[in-house]
């Protein structure tokens, strides 16, 4: 299990990295924390001609409040967000999700943007981004665009990002006052990728529920004033819409079961957190 040969650029600036992408396009891969990319390199599932390392770009290592959102740069480690002093107040949903995100040892190297860019359907951070209605900031040598999370993830590990673009930042909307948030997931072991992950926000009578691990990308539904049997019906309909798939760990049916059962729990918890 050793990678195929590749050329390597340790980019000193975002511009350098983007020039590399412009030059090499789909043959290049961005390396930040390496938690998603390097296992695939080691298995030779990915054989890029060029690896562009952005982990040392200081200008991309930031967490800042900007226009109602928390913006996180591409070189920012997950552990930095986890320890950010505003996380509990500004991003309570992400705060609740953190214990489920990998392990202490992977959060210390893995980046927030890398997780979003990798776009695994059961990853927690892309799910939070989707439920909160956040954005990915995509940058290329030609310019920058912002894509809503719902448009960014297009399928299993696939995104709207072009080959000459990188996820330069992600923007999580700051928690709305009075809203409640909750996160739950079922994984076989601590820190494993979720079989099903669920994130909910509740504001007044409005509820948003996001589900990861069932469809091929995180999917969000919004309901108003649902309770009791109506909520169960809505969750059941949602579960069937998501469909799910069988793999070595779980059946589609089990995934749907978790959507129905844990969906209710996580919505109730989010509602109870409203102030």
């Amino acid at each position: 299990m050793k990678p195929s040969p590749f050329d390597y650029i340790r980019a000193a600036s975002a511009e350098e990295a983007l020039d590399g992408l412009a030059a090499h396009g789909e043959d290049a891969r961005i390396l930040a924390g390496g938690l998603s990319l390097v296992p695939m390199l080691n298995f030779r599932l990915v054989e890029p001609a060029m690896v562009i390392d952005i982990s040392g770009i200081g200008a991309l290592d930031y967490i800042r409040l900007d226009n109602g959102a928390v913006e996180i740069g591409a070189a920012t480690r997950q552990s930095a967000l986890e320890r950010w002093d505003g996380i509990a107040d500004r991003l309570p949903l992400v705060h609740a999700a953190f214990p489920h995100i990998g392990h202490y040892q992977t959060r210390s190297r893995g980046t927030v943007c890398g997780s979003v860019a990798h776009s695994d359907p059961s990853s927690e951070l892309p799910l939070c981004l989707a439920v909160l209605g956040g954005e990915a900031v995509l940058r290329s040598a030609a310019g920058e665009r912002r894509v809503a999370a719902s448009d960014f993830q297009t399928g299993m590990l696939t995104t709207a990002k072009r080959d000459d673009e990188m996820v330069a930042a992600v923007r999580f909307p700051v928690a709305e006052p009075g809203s409640g948030y909750a996160f739950a997931e079922m994984a076989q072991r601590r820190g494993d990728f979720a079989i099903v992950a669920l994130a909910a926000s509740a504001s007044g009578e409005r509820v948003r529920l996001g589900v990861g691990g069932v469809a091929d990308h995180p999917t969000v539904r919004q309901w108003d004033g649902l309770a009791g049997g109506a909520l169960d019906d809505a969750l059941n309909a949602f579960a069937w819409e998501l469909g799910g798939y069988d793999d070595v760990h779980a059946t589609a049916r089990y995934r749907r079961e978790l959507v129905r059962r844990l969906g209710r729990k996580v919505i109730e918890e989010a509602r109870s957190c409203r102030s």
Binding site: M1, K2, P3, S4, P5, F6, D7, Y8, I9, R10, A12, G34, L35, V38, P39, L41, N42, F43, V51, D53, S55, R77, S79, P99, G102, H103, Y104, Q105, T106, S108, R109, R189, R190, G191
Partner: protein, 163 residues
């Protein structure tokens, strides 16, 4: 750093356990292979090469990382610490290592240096973890010998949280 060609062994200078170290590696060489086969470190153990088992865990600029998910060229100019860095100035074992020994917190010892490196960073941030917190952190390592019981005991005793 300019673009590094795939076929060339590039010079890498970094600080290893507080001392300057040099070596050469192609861009694709994993840090784990570099430390073991280029620099002759016996403390770095490879268990899965996909970041799950934690046996190769080291500290890179202070943060814990999997050496198998890092390329040697990435540590140029950086500070890498392996379990050798824990040895006190006077030699022997540090207090945590002693606690591992007295609690039988290791058997084959293959996972141990990685676990110690995680702990060395983690206990700086959380010097007195609860057992749950500790087990959560340890879930980033696989151990096939000990059932984790005595690892937990060793750490809890070390931090003064033994029951």
């Amino acid at each position: 750093m300019p673009q590094l060609n795939r076929d060339t062994r590039h010079a890498i200078s970094f600080t290893l356990n507080g001392k300057p170290a040099q070596g050469h590696a192609e861009p694709r060489m994993l840090l784990s292979d570099f430390l073991v086969h280029e620099l002759g470190l016996t403390s770095v153990h490879v268990g899965c090469e996909h970041g799950v088992c934690g046996a190769c865990t080291v500290r890179i600029d202070g943060a814990v990382g999997r050496a198998c998910l890092t390329f040697a060229v990435q540590v140029d100019g950086k500070k890498v610490d392996t379990v050798e860095s824990l040895t006190p100035e006077e030699g022997g074992l540090n207090e945590l290592q002693k606690s591992f020994r007295s609690n039988h917190g290791l058997q084959c010892g293959y996972c141990t240096p990685g676990i110690l490196m995680s702990l060395s960073a983690y206990l700086e941030e959380n010097p007195k973890p609860s057992e749950d917190e500790l087990r959560d952190m340890l879930s980033g390592h696989l151990c096939r010998c000990t059932g984790y019981v005595n690892i937990v005991r060793a750490v809890m005793e070390h931090v003064g949280n033994a029951p």
